[in-house]
Each structure stands twice: as structure tokens, then as C-alpha cells.
């Protein structure tokens, strides 16, 4: 008589071999779900090869953004980052932005910081023309259709001025701008430990 436990062990070991391999950093979907022709007219996506056709990437959880009980902080369940929900509308230069975010105490935490450019990009939804408007629909308030600072310095060559990366929360352009210029701040915390 076969040992039933041995057989079950064999069966379950076969099961584990079939799991798919996740990348260290699987990319999220861009958000774009529609397709258009070059006149801007909406068209069916099938076969176009456009972003809205393939929609590559990890699905956004739903709901995606969840506010905390204080009303001051909001968690992005897509990335596990926590953002200031209603950032102030003061303009700051880059150094002021860094200092402000670093010194922030909110929602019982003081480990806030200025987001890096990859973290800031994670807020961008490619299906909308107005990023501030999208974030507003997700629970944020006070977001401006203007440049938001990242903590990432522009390491590119040959600029006479010191630049840092911003994302414009109008369309969502990713550009380097003068660190002594003005921009807005949405501070972030979380996800500092790295996975292996």
C-alpha cells in the first residue's frame, strides 16, 4: 500500500514548480486604456499596438488610493508609498523643498522626504490630460497643474545651472529644471527597505 502522505507530497511539489517568475521590479500599468488616431479621434484599440491596446504591466489595485483616519495622508496601494494628501500650495526652490519634506511631521510619522523621480512618476496616469485633476479624483486635494520637485538631481552633462528633475502635474512631462526656480512639494514616506 502506497503511503498516502508521500503521494500528496509529490503532488504538491509538482504544484510549486508551476509558479510564474516575478521580476524584482515588475512595472505597473500606465493607466492608458484608450486609443486614438492621429487626428485625436478615439478609435478601437485592437491591433493598433498603442499603449491602450497592450496595457502592459501590473494591474492597479482597486481602490488604489486609501486615505488615513486623520485625512492628512493617503496610501497608494499600488506602490505602498504614503503621500501627503493635501499638500500646501507654497512655492519653493529645490533646497527649500528638500528641507520642508525632511522636517515634516504628519500622521504620527516624521520620516517624510521628497520623493525621487521614479516615485513621483508612479503618480502619473497616462489616460488623463491633467494629472492634478486625476489625483484630485483619487482623494488628493490642492494638487497644482505645475512642476513638482523630486529629490533626484539631474546628472546630465553640460548644464551651467544646477538642475533637478520635476514632473509637471499638468500633462506629466518629466524634465530637469533649475534648482533655484520654483516648484511644488508633495512629500512621501515608506518603502525604504529594498527587497532582494
Amino acid at each position: 500500500m502506497y503511503n498516502i502522505q508521500l503521494i500528496l507530497l509529490l503532488a504538491t511539489s509538482m504544484l510549486t514548480v508551476t509558479t510564474t517568475h516575478a521580476a524584482p521590479a515588475d512595472l505597473p500599468k500606465s493607466g492608458q486604456i484608450s486609443c486614438a488616431d492621429s487626428t485625436g479621434a478615439v478609435m478601437a484599440c485592437m491591433g493598433t499596438g498603442q499603449d491602450g491596446d497592450h496595457q502592459a504591466g501590473v494591474v492597479w489595485p482597486s481602490p488604489r488610493f486609501i486615505g488615513d483616519e486623520t485625512g492628512n495622508c493617503i496610501t497608494d496601494t499600488l506602490t505602498d508609498l504614503v503621500w501627503v494628501r493635501n499638500p500646501d500650495v507654497s512655492v519653493r526652490n529645490w533646497q527649500q523643498a528638500l528641507d520642508f519634506a525632511n522636517n515634516l511631521a504628519l500622521c504620527g510619522s516624521d520620516d517624510w522626504r521628497l520623493p525621487n523621480i521614479v516615485e513621483l512618476e508612479s503618480l502619473v496616469n497616462l489616460d488623463v490630460a491633467n494629472q492634478a485633476g486625476f489625483l484630485s479624483s483619487q482623494g488628493f486635494s490642492g494638487m497644482q497643474t505645475d512642476n513638482y520637485w523630486s529629490s533626484t538631481i539631474y546628472a546630465g552633462c553640460c548644464s551651467s545651472t544646477a538642475l533637478a528633475w520635476v514632473i509637471s502635474m499638468g500633462h506629466g512631462d518629466v524634465v530637469p529644471v533649475d534648482r533655484f526656480g520654483n516648484g511644488f512639494v508633495v512629500a512621501v514616506r515608506g518603502r525604504l527597505a529594498t527587497r532582494d
Binding site: P24, N102, S109, V118, A155
Partner: protein
């Protein structure tokens, strides 16, 4: 004579056959993959998220005069370096030399700017079609990358992100590269990455000298 022993064996065989069938099904890449619980600097355990964002590549900190400085207490990207570490090696070229896989994102990219005399360049619409119809390295499921995928190639710690890719195995020219993500408003523009400085900005869909790097999901 059929007994319990035979029945159990049959069940095990049937189960494995079933699983083998699932393996051959096309990989549905929309399943949530995500973080196991991790402990951050404050000792707090993070809940599982759908994605783990990668590091930017920035490792240094700079003062107002753009001179390298110690990172401690600056709050700059180079101090926290938040995000998933890049595997090393990160990019792996295949045996044909025509394809290169990013082990950070599990995306496979065309390594060269052309294939069989067919250059990956054109208007947005022509480029989308070219990418869709491509046969390369034994695969036929190529496409144009979306904005998020194209941005994943940028090394924000490099002085020239295009040159950095070349140093990591790509054989491509500097220039403007299409994404499959259009700019959602009335103008006919798509998001384009400048593979020199890393800028991502709208460009007219009718520009005919922009390039693209075909991509597919590696397994």
C-alpha cells in the same frame, strides 16, 4: 484489479497533466505580483503592494554648485536610494546578439537599432505597426514600449543615459525614442524619451525620424 493505490496514482498523474496544460497557456501578465512584507528603517512591516518601484540609479549627492558632497542628512535621492536594487548583471544579451533582457523588469528589448535591413525608425503610426509585426530572436510578440517601460531604461545617475545603455550591452544610437503612450488631449502627440538626457516629453506623431526599441515580456 483496480485498487486504491492505482486510483491515487491516477489522480496524481491527472493533476500533473492538468498543470502542464496551464503552463502552456499564454502568460497573463495582469496578475498582482508584489511585495512580501518588508521591514523599513523604522522597523515597521509594510503591507504587500502590487509593485515594488526600482531605484533611480542616483547614488551621489550634490551641493548648490553641483559639486559632489556627503549625502548624510541632505534628504537627496542619493541619500535614501529608495527602491529595489538593480540586479547585477542587470542586462543580459542573448546568444544571437539581437536581444537583451532587463533582469530588473523582466522585459526583453531589441538590442540593435535595426534588423535584417529594417531600421526601427518612422512616424508613430508606422513604428507601432513595425513593432507589432517584428520577428526577432525566435519571438513574434514584440510591441512598442509604453511610457513606463521606456522610462525604466533611464539611469538617473548617469551623465548620458543613452551612453549608459550602450555600456550595458545595447547597440543603439542616441536620439528620440517613441513610446506607445499617446498624450491624451487634442493634439496628435505621443510621449517620447530623449535617450541622451532622459527627458520624457510630447512630440508630434508625424515626426518621421524618431526611433523605437521593440520590447516584449521575457519569461
Amino acid at each position: 484489479m483496480l485498487n486504491k493505490k492505482h486510483l491515487l496514482l491516477s489522480l496524481v498523474i491527472a493533476l500533473n497533466l492538468l498543470l502542464a496544460g496551464c503552463d502552456n497557456a499564454p502568460a497573463v501578465k495582469d496578475a498582482s505580483v508584489g511585495g512580501s512584507e518588508i521591514e523599513n528603517e523604522n522597523g515597521r512591516v509594510s503591507s504587500a503592494s502590487a509593485v515594488a518601484l526600482p531605484k533611480t540609479g542616483q547614488t551621489l549627492c550634490f551641493d548648490a554648485g553641483n559639486v559632489v558632497m556627503a549625502c548624510t542628512d541632505t534628504g537627496q535621492d542619493g541619500e535614501y536610494q529608495a527602491g529595489v536594487a538593480w540586479p547585477s548583471p542587470r542586462f543580459i544579451v542573448d546568444s544571437s546578439g539581437n536581444c537583451i533582457t532587463d533582469t530588473l523588469t523582466n522585459l526583453m528589448w531589441a538590442r540593435n537599432n535595426s534588423q535584417d535591413g529594417n531600421t526601427f525608425i518612422g512616424t508613430w503610426s508606422d513604428s507601432l505597426t513595425m513593432a507589432n509585426n517584428l520577428d526577432l530572436c525566435g519571438f513574434g510578440d514584440w510591441r512598442m514600449p509604453n511610457r513606463k517601460e521606456l522610462l525604466s531604461l533611464v539611469n538617473y545617475g548617469a551623465s548620458n543615459t543613452g551612453v549608459d545603455l550602450m555600456n550595458n550591452g545595447f547597440n543603439i544610437l542616441l536620439g528620440f525614442y517613441w513610446s506607445s503612450s499617446r498624450v491624451v488631449d487634442s493634439s496628435a502627440e505621443a510621449w517620447v524619451l530623449i535617450l541622451i538626457n532622459g527627458v520624457m516629453s510630447p512630440r508630434s506623431m508625424f515626426e518621421s525620424s524618431n526611433r523605437f526599441i521593440p520590447v516584449r515580456a521575457a519569461q
